[in-house]
C-alpha cells in the first residue's frame, strides 16, 4: 500500500445522514478522512458478505485487517497518521479515553440499538434486514443482536447468574456519566486535541454519530446526548467538514454560489441606480435641450459595477 491504490474497505452502508450506520465502520471512515488516506468504500449491503465477513475489514495485498484499532494501527504504519502532532501524554490520554468509551458507553449503545425491544423492532432490525440480501435478512439482524446481548452480559453481568434487566440501570447510568465526562473534556474546543482531529475524535464520532442521528423511538440515552450541545456540535462539524458530498469540494461550491449571488445583487443594485439616474436625466430640463449626449454614462457605470464586486 503505498497510498496510491485505494485499498478496499468493507463496511456497512450509510443512512440517517451518516456515511455508515455501523460504529466500527464509522470510526475507520472518519480516521481515513482525518489522515488523508484514500480508501475505496465497499458497502457490504445486499451482498453475502453481510454474514460471511467481519466488518469493518480492510483488504490489502493478500490479507486483511479487521477491528478499528488494528486498522488504525495499519494506516499509521503506512504513514497515514492523524496523531502525528500529539505528545506522548496526549497519546496516553487517547488510549485512556478510548478505553472509557469501550467500557462505559459501548454497552449502553449496544443495548439501545440491539436489545431495547422498541428500537430493535422498529429501527435496527428492519434496517439491517432490508440491507441484507434474501434470505439473509432473516438471520443477520438476529445474529448481530445475539452477539450484542452476549457481549453486554459477559462484560457487565456475572452471566449466567444475572439477566439483562439487572444491569440495564447500571449500564445506562454509566453511559450518561461517560457522555458528561466527554463533554467536560471537550469543553469549547473544536476537537479533543486542538484544531485538528485525531484518532480519539474518530472513535468518539463513531460512537456518538449513530446515537445523534438515528430516529430512535425509545431513546433515553439520545435525549441525554442532545442536552450536551458541544458533543452534538462536534458530530455536526465533522459531518459537515469531512462527509458532505465527499468532503471539501461541496463547501467550495457553496462559496462560489454565495459569491455569484452577491455579484448578481450588486449588479442589480447598480442597474437600478442607473435607471433612476436615467429617469432623472430625462426629466431634467437641461436634458430636453441636450438630447444628443444621452448614451455616454451607461457602459462605464456598468463596467465599474462589475469591477468593484470581487473585492
Amino acid at each position: 500500500m503505498r497510498g496510491q491504490g485505494a485499498e478496499p474497505l468493507l463496511c456497512w452502508g450509510g443512512d440517517w445522514d451518516l456515511p455508515s450506520v455501523h460504529t466500527e465502520s464509522l470510526i475507520v471512515l472518519a480516521y481515513a478522512k482525518f489522515a488523508g488516506a484514500k480508501l475505496t468504500v465497499k458497502p457490504v449491503d445486499w451482498t453475502w458478505r453481510t454474514i460471511t465477513a467481519v466488518i469493518p475489514q480492510l483488504n490489502y495485498e493478500c490479507s486483511s485487517v479487521t477491528e478499528p484499532t488494528q486498522i488504525l494501527n495499519f494506516l499509521r504504519k503506512n504513514r497515514f497518521n492523524a496523531d502525528y502532532e500529539l505528545s506522548a501524554k496526549q497519546g496516553a490520554d487517547t488510549m485512556a479515553y478510548i478505553a472509557l468509551l469501550e467500557e462505559k458507553l459501548q454497552p449502553a449503545l449496544l443495548h439501545t440499538f440491539w436489545v431495547d425491544a422498541e428500537n430493535y423492532s422498529s429501527l435496527t432490525k428492519p434496517w439491517f434486514a432490508a440491507h441484507s440480501p434474501f434470505p439473509l435478512g432473516f438471520f443477520v439482524p438476529g445474529r448481530l443482536a445475539g452477539a450484542a446481548l452476549s457481549r453486554i452480559l459477559l462484560t457487565k453481568a456475572e452471566a449466567p447468574l444475572h439477566s439483562i434487566t439487572e444491569v440495564e440501570g447500571k449500564i445506562y447510568s454509566d453511559a450518561k456519566e461517560c457522555l458528561n465526562l466527554l463533554s467536560h473534556r471537550l469543553g469549547t474546543s473544536l476537537y479533543f486535541f486542538g484544531n485538528a482531529p485525531t484518532s480519539l475524535d474518530a472513535f468518539v464520532f463513531g460512537y456518538l454519530a449513530p446515537l445523534h442521528k438515528a430516529s430512535l423511538p425509545s431513546g433515553q440515552l439520545q435525549q441525554h446526548l442532545k442536552q450536551l450541545h458541544n458533543l452534538c456540535h462536534f458530530c455536526s462539524t465533522i459531518l459537515q467538514n469531512y462527509f458532505t458530498e465527499a468532503g471539501r469540494p461541496h463547501s467550495n461550491q457553496d462559496a462560489v454560489d454565495a459569491n455569484l449571488q452577491k455579484l448578481t445583487q450588486l449588479v442589480n443594485k447598480e442597474s437600478n441606480l442607473i435607471e433612476k439616474m436615467d429617469d432623472n436625466l430625462r426629466s431634467s430640463p437641461q436634458h430636453r435641450l441636450n438630447r444628443a449626449h444621452r448614451p455616454a454614462p451607461k457602459p462605464s457605470f456598468q463596467t465599474a459595477g462589475r469591477n468593484s464586486t470581487p473585492a
Binding site: 501524554k89 478505553a99 472509557l100 467500557e103 459477559l154 452471566a159 473534556r185
Partner: protein
C-alpha cells in the same frame, strides 16, 4: 477470617474485594469508593471536571487492559492455567467441588475473552498490550508522586493494586513483571505506596 469463610462470602457477594461493615457487604472497587464517599471520605473531591474525566478514563484503561490481560494470562494460557491458576483457585474447596469450580471459572473467562475479541490474541500480543498500557500510565505519572498532583486518588489505588499483584505473583515466566519493571517510575510508585501505607500497618501487626 479464615480462607474458607472468605471464599464463602465472596461467593455470595459475587466478587472480591469486599468490605463487611455492620450488616452490609460491599464488593468491588466502584461500590466501595461510593460507600466511603457516602460516609464522608473521598479522595477525588479536589479534582475539577476535566481531571475527574481523565481519572475515570485512566481507571477504565487499567480495567480494560491490565485486568483483562491478567485474566487472559491466568486462565487462557494453558501452562499457567494448569500449573498455577486452577490449583490456587480451587484450594479452599474439597473434591469434587474444586475441579468443578475451577473448570467453570475457566470456561466463563474464555467465553468473555471470545466476546471481547481477545480469544484470537496470542500471549505475545497480550504482553505487548500490557507494555503499551504501562507506558501510557508511565507517561501520565511522569515524575509526580501520584497521578494527580500530590494527593493519591482512586486511580492510584487501582494502579497500585494491579501492579503490585503482577509484580508479586509468581507465574510460569517473569515476562509480565519484567515489562512493568521497564517503566522505572511505575516501579518506584509501587514501592513508595507500599512503604508509606502498608509498612506502617505491618508494624501495627494488622496485616
Amino acid at each position: 477470617m479464615s480462607l474458607a469463610a472468605e471464599a464463602f462470602v465472596s461467593q455470595i457477594a459475587g466478587k472480591v474485594p469486599f468490605i463487611h461493615v455492620g450488616n452490609q457487604v460491599v464488593s468491588e472497587l466502584g461500590p466501595i469508593v461510593q460507600f466511603t464517599k457516602a460516609k464522608g471520605h473521598s479522595l477525588s473531591d479536589g479534582l475539577d471536571d476535566v481531571q475527574r474525566a481523565e481519572m475515570k478514563a485512566y481507571m477504565e484503561l487499567v480495567n480494560n487492559m491490565l485486568l483483562t490481560a491478567e485474566l487472559y494470562i491466568q486462565w487462557c494460557d494453558d501452562t499457567t492455567a494448569s500449573e498455577i491458576t486452577r490449583q490456587r483457585y480451587s484450594s479452599p474447596y474439597s473434591w469434587p467441588l474444586n475441579h468443578i469450580l475451577a473448570y467453570q471459572k475457566q470456561w466463563e473467562v474464555r467465553r468473555k475473552m471470545n466476546a471481547i475479541g481477545w480469544a484470537g490474541k496470542g500471549l505475545e500480543q497480550v504482553y505487548e498490550d500490557v507494555s503499551q498500557c504501562c507506558q501510557a500510565l508511565s507517561q501520565r505519572l511522569g515524575t509526580q508522586p501520584f497521578f494527580f498532583n500530590k494527593q493519591p486518588t482512586e486511580l492510584d489505588a487501582l494502579v497500585f493494586g494491579h501492579l503490585f499483584t503482577i509484580l508479586t505473583t509468581r507465574l510460569t515466566t517473569d515476562e509480565l513483571s519484567e515489562r512493568i519493571k521497564s517503566c522505572s517510575n511505575l516501579l518506584s510508585f509501587c514501592r513508595r505506596i507500599e512503604q508509606t501505607y502498608f509498612e506502617e500497618d505491618k508494624d501495627k501487626g494488622r496485616l
